[in-house]
């Protein structure tokens, strides 16, 4: 041994450094995971803190004199009696009386505190209960969106950046002191369609639009996807043609969704001249988009059915179709269903292709079917996010929470189905 340093010494000399490197490497891994999880937490907290107040709305208490003569109601039994009645005027008079103003500019500033939708709710209440006529009733009226943002910013101590004048703020402060301002559960948000006024905007229209779109998608893509998967797994000969189909499906799964929007625009809208903005076209486009996902997951589910089942069925004299329909499909169904649910969740959250086929239109009416103009929930979020009104920020976040809620439910259902029906051979 002429060498002064043995291998052991060489190794030992470097050992501490190597252990440090090992620790560092591990740390990078942990940091990466923490980074991912932090992003998730930050995203959710951001949305929730911005949006939880979207579920409540601010209301102002006002005693309104429902004198039928002032309202212009001659005969309460008449069909259109309440449609033409001047509830707005009554509310305005009540407001002026409450704040004791007479100057025209002040009146206008005062009117701006109450939402233009308030008179409808008073009208509906009186219509329901005509005995209220000719009495003086107290109502909680929907406040304007600026009042809403101001009132909600009070307890967070966040600076208020709205458009309220000194005088309006003074009025509001007197209302707060006398407890005539409150927040209440925002039913409008869940029961009405879109609106230019943030305090009156709701998600029902968009949610139904999404529902119809996803229903069309499900009805078309599930049977077609399963049929395609059955063909490829059970029937297809191994040749170039089926290879082509297979490569194609894998590629389609990775084509950007906006391309499917372009396809829908060119084929369904320009060529077949279907109307724009309807859930039917949206559903067709999303069908094409989700088909690859459903086919791939259905194929995996069919592949997981052991060959012995098939052989047993064939051995007992079943034909191929009987084997598929009576044995393979029922056993593969849980897997296919989870795949379909995940595909539907994907379709539910998709926005870009729907933009292309015109589902970005401003639609106030709640759609009643697949042929009515509609928007979808994610598109509604996109529209509101673009809106300059500050109050739409919390509406957007609230709508996002609803959308995420639906997605969460669908994914939970998929997981539950998988756990429940999973079978091991």
């Amino acid at each position: 041994m002429t060498n002064s340093e043995s291998t052991i010494e060489k190794v030992n000399r470097n050992l501490a450094r190597r252990y440090r490197a090992e620790k560092r490497f591990r740390l990078y891994g942990i940091l990466s995971i923490l980074f991912g999880l932090t992003c998730l937490v930050v995203l959710f907290t951001d949305i929730i803190t911005k949006g939880y107040k979207g579920f409540v709305s601010t209301e102002i208490y006002l005693t309104v004199d429902l004198n039928s003569e002032d309202l212009g109601i001659v005969d309460p039994e008449a069909e259109n009696a309440f449609m033409q009645a001047d509830f707005e005027g009554a509310i305005k008079r009540a407001l002026y009386a409450r704040m004791d103003v007479s100057d025209r500019r002040a009146k206008r500033a005062l009117n701006a505190l109450i939402s233009s939708g308030a008179s409808y709710s008073v009208r509906d209440q009186v219509k329901q209960n005509p005995s209220l006529l000719d009495t003086t009733q107290g109502f909680w009226l929907l406040a304007d969106d600026d009042v809403d943002t101001w009132y909600k910013s009070l307890d967070t101590k966040a600076p208020f950046l709205g458009r309220l004048s000194e005088q309006q703020l003074a009025w509001l402060n007197t209302l707060v002191e006398s407890d005539e301002l409150r927040t209440a559960w925002n039913t409008t948000f869940f029961t009405s369609g879109d609106s230019r006024e943030p305090e009156m905007a709701g998600i029902l229209g968009a949610a139904l639009g999404s529902l119809f779109t996803v229903m069309v998608t499900l009805v078309l893509s599930f049977p077609i996807g399963v049929a395609a998967a059955v063909y490829l797994e059970e029937y297809a000969p191994k040749n170039r043609w089926t290879d082509l189909i297979e490569v194609n499906i894998n590629n389609l799964a990775a084509v950007p969704s906006i391309i499917f929007g372009l396809l829908g625009l060119a084929i369904f809208i320009n060529f077949f001249e279907m109307p724009r903005s309807i859930p039917l076209v949206g559903g067709l486009v999303l069908t094409l988009m989700t088909l690859p996902t459903i086919i791939i997951s259905s194929r995996a589910a069919i592949k997981a059915v052991p060959p012995s089942i098939r052989e047993a069925a064939l051995g007992l004299g079943a034909s191929k179709m009987q084997m598929v329909l009576h044995h393979v499909l029922p056993l593969a169904m849980p897997g296919m269903l989870t795949g379909a649910i995940i595909g539907m969740a994907q379709a539910l959250g998709e926005t870009a292709p729907l933009l292309m086929i015109g589902m970005v239109a401003f639609v106030v009416d709640v759609p009643g079917g697949v042929m009515d103009a509609a928007t979808a929930l994610p598109v509604q979020i996109f529209l509101w996010a673009d809106s300059p009104e500050r109050a739409f920020v919390e509406k957007t976040s609230a709508a996002i929470m609803v959308l995420l809620g639906f997605l969460f439910l669908m994914n939970a259902l998929a997981v539950w189905l998988r756990r429940r029906l999973e079978r091991r051979w």
Binding site: V11, R18, Y19, A21, E22, F25, R26, Y28, G29, I30, L31, S32, I33, G36, L37, L43, D46, I47, K50, P223, G225, A227, A228, Y231, L232, Y235, L244, I245, N248, I249, N250, N251, A254, V255, P256, I258, I259, F260, L262, L263, A266, F271, F272, E273, L291, P292, I295, S319, K320, M321, G349, T351, A352, M356, I381, A385, L403, L404, L407, N411
Partner: protein, 462 residues
């Protein structure tokens, strides 16, 4: 009849066909010794009759629906005076619109010129005849098919074989839908792009560095020449995708390594699905988050450090997109890392290497092709991603490498060009299809390479 009622009638007819076909088979079998002497089960005779009833009728209905609108339009045009027939296509379209509005009663008849009213009248007539004709033809086809199928029912008919071959044809048709979709994408996008390239040269589109797709409404309008150089858009897309990959690749890869090599099974089973939640969040939510939270943050930090930062920066969009892509990278990398055989690790560990040395020098090189494939797929995701960039990246087509500036991307431009009212023969709208074609080709090429690499790699350890 409306198509929906027609289809339901046909369905009812098919059910009836099933019942009588099955019944006839049963009846005939009695003469020759009961249901056992039939060539197939009675169910198949019913099925076959139902198929004969429904399939041809449905096919004809489908083809009819594809072409009747065009045919009616053509017949109405033939009824119009020669002067209107000679109008350019878009004005003719407008005219036809008016005609159909009159026919539906949306426009008062009195205020319209006589020939328009006449055209509307004939449109109404043709539509009425068309509806009658389609109902008649489809229903009689259904009944004829039913009768034919019914008449063929005989004990020696091999009904099951026929039903099963029809079944397998239907299955084949369903799986061909994928090919049809691709063909549809290629043709629709290619066709409109070719129209675009008739007015803008492909060289200018591919290599031009000016993008301002404003076309003149009038010939004498100022500053509306329209420039269609797509280089700034692709540069912007690349910049944002690069930033996204700078976030997603290291984080995703390290997360995958940790989860596959170090993490306890329980930790893994909790953390992996949690990370995958990031991939399941709709992109519009990320867009909202990027535009309202990250972009102002980036701007404030940039400005406090003394950089000129625009409120819509490539950095904000790229960062958020990177977060979205983390799970794609990590899941794919996790798959390939787990596929590396344990014997390789054992060999390395047995020689005295630490775990991280094993990973860096043995596992990762072995998994490299798969990881690269996964990253390529993630890049194609980033290039095609729309909502985040639409909401957070901006519209200014600038050639810049500064991530603090606002840039625009291919998908943003497609959306801005196509959302809203537009006519379909101006280069401005057609440009969106040309961009779509480029996007499709790029992502397709990336996917092909990625799938090829992943597949080829996977076979090595099988």
């Amino acid at each position: 009849m409306q198509p929906i009622t027609l289809i339901s009638t046909l369905a009812a007819l098919a059910v009836f066909a099933f019942v009588i076909g099955r019944g006839r088979a049963m009846l005939q079998s009695q003469a020759v010794g009961g249901a056992r002497s039939l060539a197939s089960l009675p169910f198949y005779y019913g099925m076959l009759t139902a198929l004969w009833c429904a399939l041809p009728a449905l096919l004809v209905l489908g083809v009819w629906q594809l072409f009747d609108a065009r045919l009616i339009e053509w017949m109405v045009i033939a009824k119009l005076p020669a002067a209107s027939q000679a109008l350019p296509a878009d004005e003719l379209g407008l005219l036809l619109n008016t005609v159909s509005n009159i026919a539906q009663g949306h426009l008062p008849v009195e205020s319209q010129p006589a020939e328009m009213v006449a055209a509307a009248e004939s449109l109404k007539n043709i539509q009425h005849t068309n509806r009658l004709a389609v109902t008649g033809v489809v229903l009689s086809l259904g009944i004829l098919g039913l009768m034919f199928g019914w008449s063929r029912v005989a004990p020696q008919l091999r009904a099951r074989q026929k039903v099963e071959s029809a079944f397998s044809w239907v299955l084949l048709a369903c799986s061909c839908l994928a090919i049809l979709t691709t063909v549809g994408i290629v043709f629709s996008v290619l066709f409109e792009s070719l129209q675009f390239f008739r007015s803008v040269s492909p060289v200018e589109f591919l290599f031009g560095t000016q993008w301002s797709p404003q076309m003149a409404m009038r010939a004498d309008q100022v500053g509306s020449s329209g420039a269609f150089g797509s280089v700034p858009l692709f540069a912007g897309t690349m910049l944002i995708s690069f930033i996204a990959m700078c976030v997603a690749v290291p984080v995703g890869l390290m997360a995958a390594i940790y989860l596959a090599e170090y993490a306890h099974k329980k930790v893994r089973s909790v953390v992996k699905p949690l990370l995958e939640v990031l991939a399941g969040i709709p992109t519009v939510v990320y867009g909202f988050f990027a535009a309202l939270t990250v972009a102002p943050l980036v701007r404030d930090i940039g400005q406090s450090l003394g950089f000129a930062t625009s409120s819509e920066s490539a950095l904000a969009a790229g960062l958020v997109m990177g977060v979205m892509i983390i799970p794609f990278v990590s899941s794919l990398a996790d798959d390939v890392i787990s596929a590396v055989p344990q014997s390789l690790r054992d060999g390395s560990l047995g020689l005295g290497a630490t775990q991280s040395e094993t990973i860096k020098q043995v596992v990762l090189p072995a998994a490299l092709p798969g990881v690269v494939g996964g990253i390529l797929l993630a890049v194609s995701r980033a290039i095609g991603e729309t909502m985040i960039v639409v909401m957070a990246a901006g519209l200014a087509a600038k050639l810049t490498a500064n991530p603090l500036e606002s840039v625009t991307t291919v998908t943003v431009q497609i959306v801005t060009l196509l959302v809203g009212d537009q006519e379909f023969d101006s280069p401005k709208t057609l440009a969106a299809f040309a961009l779509g074609l480029m996007l499709f080709v790029t992502t397709l090429a990336l996917n092909f390479v990625a799938l090829y690499v992943v597949r080829k790699y996977r076979e090595q350890y099988d």
